[in-house]
């Protein structure tokens, strides 16, 4: 599956990384600057958890 991050919306709330640190990575300033990441299906639950928690709604999960 793919994780799309609208990096312009990321404000460094860091909820994605706090909940799912294996899936979401932040830069040194604490922001998610990776617009697209591919993750294995085994990480689906963690990916969705982090995405749902983003207060900025910056994260979209695509099943493909």
């Amino acid at each position: 599956m793919r994780i799309l991050v609208d990096t312009k919306k990321c404000s460094g709330q860091a909820r994605c990384w706090t909940l799912s640190p294996d899936v979401y990575h932040l830069n040194d300033d604490g922001y998610n600057v990776m617009p697209e990441t591919v993750v294995p299906a085994s990480m689906e639950r963690a990916a969705r958890l982090g995405a749902l928690e983003c207060p900025e709604r910056a994260i979209t999960i695509l099943d493909d």
Partner: protein, 405 residues
């Protein structure tokens, strides 16, 4: 009873949306400010025009999490430039930065602070923060009682902050008093005098650090370019002023609400003793439930905002106390549930101005709870005493007498 000087309601505001909202004097502010705010808006529409929402000012108040989020994210329509207006108190015009800047200029100032308050940077401070918490707690443990605000809440976060910022801890009490003096609950004379004291002190410190830079945050700020050029004196003061006020009463009052809650809800206190793994989520829940910060946005263009006509120049008042208790977003919002799964509160705001100190705040709160529960037995509000709360610069706990065996 409204403060003198509240302006008339402008023509474009429909009469049926106008409400008197004497924020400082809402019933219950002295015992439970977040509940008081929510009770006051219970039967109001999602968007209403509040007379007296800020000292001498009217503003639109939004009840809904969704609308508050939208305002935070729409920085083009809703500017942060009218947020604090501290400089006006000393007859000057600098902006508190990055707070009162909007994108795109905002990013350059914010970029200076980010590395200092990132999750990874904050992690490295953990040991120092914990040592400080332990020192303070061990200092009063044997007394079997303390007044939490003066003994811990106004000492712990402030000392951490002063160490990072680079101001002397010996002056902490004075800084706290000056900061209190700025609050909207004080007279104009006191606010002006307090602002003058802070500004003069900061200007002196800035001059010292420019002569002899150190490793502290002030020196780092002063030496940081903005858009490839050195900062102006106003920009330097604006950043230092914002850091000064930003670090002083927010975490202190969040601690106050958390420990008041634990003292008054022994079952919740015991739950965290029994299951310390819940502490991290409990902190998110407390930040949601006891949102202390209130912030203001300035409408930059005439806009139809969800059916309400707002005009350029209107103010919008955003309360974390309201976003956190919206039961359309949070099921059973008026219940504290340490196991709550969804914690996407916006008590640290949202959008570019998301609180820079949020990760440091979380770590301080976690360490405070961990060390209190480890070192102090079951504590409660002292018999015969009543905690006192109210409105300062943020929703506040002013006095919290605690006892334990």
């Amino acid at each position: 009873m409204l403060d003198a000087g509240v302006t008339d309601v402008p023509e474009h505001v429909p009469a049926d949306l106008v409400r008197d909202f004497p924020f400082k004097h809402l019933p219950g502010m002295d015992t439970d400010p977040v509940a008081a705010v929510n009770r006051a808006v219970l039967n109001e529409p999602d968007i209403f025009y509040a007379r007296g929402a800020r000292v001498g000012m009217n503003a639109w108040v939004l009840k809904s999490y969704e609308l508050i989020l939208e305002v935070f994210q729409d920085t083009g329509t809703f500017s942060s430039s009218a947020n604090a207006n501290f400089s006006a108190l000393v007859g000057e015009t600098w902006r508190a930065l990055p707070l009162e800047a909007d994108p795109p200029q905002h990013g350059a100032y914010r970029a200076i602070l980010n590395p200092w308050f990132s999750p990874s940077r904050v992690k490295t401070m953990g040991e120092e923060i914990r040592t400080l918490a332990i020192d303070i707690i061990e200092g009063f443990k044997a007394d079997g009682e303390c007044e939490f605000v003066s003994a811990f809440a106004e000492v712990f976060p402030i000392q951490i902050f002063l160490r990072i910022f680079g101001l002397p801890i010996s002056e902490a009490r004075q800084f706290v008093d000056w900061n209190h003096g700025l609050g909207p609950d004080r007279s104009l004379e006191e606010r002006e005098a307090s602002a003058r004291l802070i500004v003069d002190y900061l200007r002196e410190t800035i001059a010292e650090r420019e002569r002899e830079p150190t490793e502290d945050l002030i020196s780092y700020v002063l030496g940081s370019p903005v858009d490839g050029r050195p900062m102006t004196p106003d920009e330097k003061l604006g950043m230092c002023f914002l850091l000064f006020v930003g670090g002083l009463d927010t975490v202190a009052n969040q601690l106050g609400f958390i420990f008041k809650h634990l003292a008054e809800h022994p079952e919740d206190q015991q739950k965290l003793r029994d299951e310390p793994d819940l502490i991290s989520n409990a902190i998110e829940e407390f930040i949601r439930y006891y949102g202390v910060v209130n912030t203001t946005r300035l409408v930059m263009r005439d806009v139809d905002f969800h059916g309400v006509k707002m005009k350029k120049g209107d103010l919008v008042f955003l309360l974390a106390a309201l976003s956190g208790r919206d039961d359309r977003k949070f099921e059973n919002a008026s219940t504290v549930d340490f196991s709550r799964k969804s914690q996407s509160h916006i008590s640290f705001a949202a959008g570019p101005h998301r609180c820079a100190g949020s990760h440091l705040a979380r770590r301080e709160l976690r360490i405070a709870i961990e060390e209190w529960l480890a070192r102090i037995p079951a504590f409660k509000v002292t018999d015969g005493r009543v905690p006192r709360t109210g409105l300062g610069g943020v929703l506040g706990v002013f006095e919290l007498p605690l006892s334990w065996k």
